[in-house]
């Protein structure tokens, strides 16, 4: 089944260009193009149920630009990529699963979207539950056990803070361990860290 993409980019030229990149493949279906994505209560997100969102943060004021990702997360569980049409502070870009730019090659755009989707949905396959921690989850766990904050982990492993949070949720779901102290014991007993 093709993945639904929602594009929220003010430049209609850029939006049509993205649409074209996706429609050539059959792997994705562009479910909608918006000039801007309202972040209030009534948004089209719940209705469209997109798998991927591509959002240009340049249309938002400085404060709302920082909370685009969390605003979307409250409404739906899509992977969210930033679209870079202008220069904005690093914090703005860091919230996204990845960032595509005006000058990216179509293949690079597709690869980023695929990667974002697979990281975002590192949920176990229904048919064969994958309950072992993935390599990435182990890396995140080691950082957690060392007492690092989400932002520090994101910087170190070059991930968005939301990906780190997703990994942490999955770690807790798989191990049943919720507290940092408990995860540290886990990491030690499983030889992921030395004392």
């Amino acid at each position: 089944m093709s993945k639904k993409v929602l594009i929220a980019v003010p430049s209609i030229i850029a939006a049509r260009g993205l649409e074209r990149i996706f429609s050539d493949l059959g792997e994705f279906e562009v479910a909608g193009i918006l000039r801007s994505l309202p972040l209030g209560r009534e948004t089209p997100l719940q209705r469209i149920k997109a798998d991927v969102l591509i959002v240009d943060p340049s249309g938002y004021d400085a404060d709302s630009a920082l909370s685009i990702r969390s605003g979307i997360a409250a409404q739906c569980d899509a992977a969210v990529l930033g679209f870079q049409s202008s220069l904005l502070p690093d914090e703005v870009w860091r919230q996204f699963d990845d960032v595509v730019g005006l000058y990216d090659e179509p293949t690079a755009v597709i690869k980023k979207v695929r990667d974002a989707l697979s990281t975002h949905h590192e949920q176990p396959d229904e048919s064969e539950p994958q309950e072992q921690l993935s390599q990435r989850e182990k890396e995140v766990l080691v950082c957690v056990a060392k007492g690092m904050l989400n932002k520090e982990i994101a910087d170190k492993l070059n991930l968005s803070i939301y990906t780190v949070i997703t990994h942490r949720k999955n770690i807790t779901r798989k191990t049943g361990i919720k507290t940092v102290a408990g995860l540290t014991v886990y990491a030690l007993l499983n030889n992921l860290i030395e004392v």
Binding site: I177, K178, L189, V195
Partner: protein, 218 residues
């Protein structure tokens, strides 16, 4: 009374904490409660919490509950957790981790001690702040600088640590640890968790609303 215990033996802990004595022969619940000076309605309320899943106390019960008995029960539960339960659990975990290397033993025991400390701190807060406040409300001498609504905080962290400990012991103990000893520790942890759930329920759904009502009637 004997039939009640036959139906749910978890109530054994309840009757001992309320100070109800055995040797009750064929006496009814009301007779035994009268003999040992326990409010029957309060006793039945606690029995319901322990025996009926998803129980919600009726207005009738809440109106007739004796807060002194509830506080007495909660205090004795604290001593029970911090005495018998803590001692047994500590010893069992110590024994379980004996064959582990020093570093692992230290980290597991350290986690357990941290849990113990947190539980103790939580109980102490209740004993030094909350229960005296309840007594003051009953005596109509309570000041305005505390209200029972502020009490509904901070059970979660303690619960999470216990859940973590259970998962660690169940799933990740080093291979040299003895199965029977793991099982023994798990029994203790499950029983403690079950009892603490009821304990918290009594605090949040009986103590808090009843005191709240008294505050509003003042």
């Amino acid at each position: 009374m004997a039939q009640l215990l036959e139906r749910n033996f978890q109530l054994l802990g309840v009757i001992s904490r309320l100070g109800i004595n055995f040797r009750f022969g064929e006496d009814t619940v009301a007779e035994v409660c009268r003999r040992d000076g326990v409010n029957t309605s309060t006793f039945l309320l606690i029995c319901n919490v322990y025996s009926i899943a998803g129980y919600t106390p009726t207005e009738d019960f809440l109106a007739n509950v004796d807060l002194d008995d509830i506080v007495k029960y909660l205090k004795r539960s604290h001593s029970y957790y911090m005495g018998e339960v803590k001692g047994g659990l500590r010893e069992a975990i110590d024994k379980l981790t004996e064959p582990c290397d020093a570093a692992r033993k230290k980290v597991i025991m350290g986690f357990y001690h941290a849990y113990e400390d947190e539980l103790e701190k939580h109980f102490q807060y209740e004993e030094t702040i909350v229960f005296p406040y309840v007594k003051a409300v009953l005596a109509k001498t309570a000041g305005k600088d505390f209200s029972i609504a502020r009490f509904e905080e901070n059970h979660t962290n303690v619960d999470e640590k216990l859940g973590d400990l259970k998962n660690i012991v169940m799933k990740y103990m080093p291979p040299q640890c003895d199965n029977a000893l793991i099982s023994d520790v798990l029994w203790r942890l499950f029983m403690l968790q079950l009892d603490l759930e009821k304990h918290t329920f009594i605090e949040d759904n009986i103590l808090v609303p009843v005191v709240n009502r008294l505050e509003n009637n003042e």
